[in-house]
């Protein structure tokens, strides 16, 4: 999914490229789980979803996302909002994510 990212928020998107799905080592950004990031005076609001409501890794991923964003010196607090609309589909993945899956022989259709 193509997103328009505001320049001052790009660093947070880049930071989350370092947070990997615990089961498949693809970043939460390349998996298309991150819908939106906003920053307001040191508080980051992340809007995200999961590939399934029964995702087995929700707590780990939220902890990993929070931990990584808190490494940015100006970030004091991270709020994570999990939404199910729009629902995740493979269309949400980035080209890089899709290519990685293909390389590993995993279908992304």
């Amino acid at each position: 999914m193509k997103k328009q990212i505001e320049p001052h928020l790009k660093k947070y998107w880049d930071a989350l490229k370092e947070v990997l799905d615990p089961e498949f080592p693809i970043s939460v950004v390349d998996l298309g789980l991150i819908y939106d990031i906003q920053e307001n005076r040191g508080t980051i609001d992340v809007t995200m979803t999961y590939t399934a409501v029964s995702c087995a890794c929700t707590e780990w991923m939220e902890a990993d996302i929070e931990k990584r964003l808190l490494l940015e010196p100006e970030v004091k607090k991270v709020n994570i909002h999990v939404v199910w609309d729009p629902p995740w589909t493979v269309e949400m993945m980035t080209r890089e994510g899709i290519e990685k899956m293909k390389y590993w022989g995993v279908s992304v259709r």
């Binding site: 498949f24 080592p25 087995a56 707590e59």
Partner: protein
């Protein structure tokens, strides 16, 4: 040069086998034996894990536990599917084999006692599985297996994280620390037994010559120890092993192999044993072997009986 030596030489030079026609009988036989061990190991990990998954302290933990079990069954399916492609009757293998004929590790023939053991199972036994299959992925000469293992290896890492995360959580709770220690006390050496008899007891190793694996049993034990020992030390669990700087290897501080008190799930460190006796113990199987295999076979056999009744 005979046919076997020719194939081994080709493999040594990097030949990847893709189909039965590429193999000789010996290679095919070793490959089937290995895949049966792998498939049985993955599938028979489900019953012990199921014995305590409902003790998960949170819903999220329970979902993770079920995802782990689902993965293991998926991994078993991959191994059996490869066997089917090699001409093995997998229905016969799964539903008509006697419990003692299954090739899963002895460690999986035990019911778990509590949720903590679920975590230690993931942290130690899945680590052994990851070590063994990671080596196969890196070195195997059988192409279809190498490709299938990409997904398996990645999922095993998730199981490891689950195990480590449960152990860390429990070690932070004073009332649960003893449970972690108890679990590690019996599971640590069990995990080391996964890698099989000591190298010095093997005159030659056909699996290595055919590149069905890349490292010897003792080398794989060292790989496992190289991550298991630092992790256990970091979380504060006592283990009978340490890194020896003078040899650059991990060494055990207890006799290995040694006798095991099955009833109390306890190692008898004052009674060293031989690998010959350990193999006898493996073949005799553990306490829940029959119950676990019957659980796997029950649905298929009941359905078969219903079909017979209806016809």
């Amino acid at each position: 040069m005979d046919q076997a030596s020719l194939l081994k030489e080709k493999i040594r030079q990097g030949f990847i086998l893709e189909k039965v026609e590429d193999m000789n009988d010996e290679y095919l036989e070793f490959l089937k034996q290995t895949l049966i061990i792998v498939g049985d190991t993955e599938l028979l990990s489900a019953p012990p894990l199921l014995s305590v998954y409902d003790q998960a302290p949170t819903l999220n933990n329970k979902i993770t536990a079920l995802a782990v079990i689902q993965d293991e069954i998926g991994h078993a399916h991959i191994a059996y599917r490869l066997l089917k492609d090699l001409g093995v009757d997998t229905d016969e293998l799964l539903y008509n084999r006697k419990p003692h004929e299954w090739k899963n590790p002895y460690a999986f023939d035990f019911e778990l006692s509590n949720w903590i053991e679920f975590g230690v199972f993931n942290a130690l036994f899945d680590r052994a599985g990851y070590t063994l299959l990671g080596d196969v992925f890196q070195h195997t000469s059988y192409g279809p297996w190498k490709r299938a293992l990409v997904k398996v290896d990645k999922e095993e890492l998730f199981h490891l994280r689950n195990g480590e995360s449960i152990m860390r959580w429990a070690m932070a709770k004073p009332d649960l620390r003893d449970d972690v220690q108890c679990a590690v006390d019996w599971m640590f050496l069990m995990a080391l037994e996964f890698f099989g008899v000591a190298d010095n007891l093997k005159s030659r190793n056909q699996q290595l010559e055919y590149k069905l694996k890349g490292k010897t049993n003792d080398e794989l034990r060292q790989v496992w120890l190289s991550t298991a020992v630092p992790f256990c030390e970091e979380v504060g669990v006592k283990i009978p092993a340490h890194y020896d700087e003078s040899t650059g290897k991990y060494v055990l501080e207890v006799p290995f192999p040694c006798k095991f008190d099955v009833e109390n799930k306890r190692w008898l460190f004052d009674q060293p044993d031989t690998w010959e006796n350990v193999v006898k113990r493996f073949k005799k199987r553990g306490p829940q072997n029959k119950q676990f295999v019957e659980r796997i076979q029950r649905g298929a056999l009941e359905l078969e009986a219903l079909r017979r009744e209806a016809s």
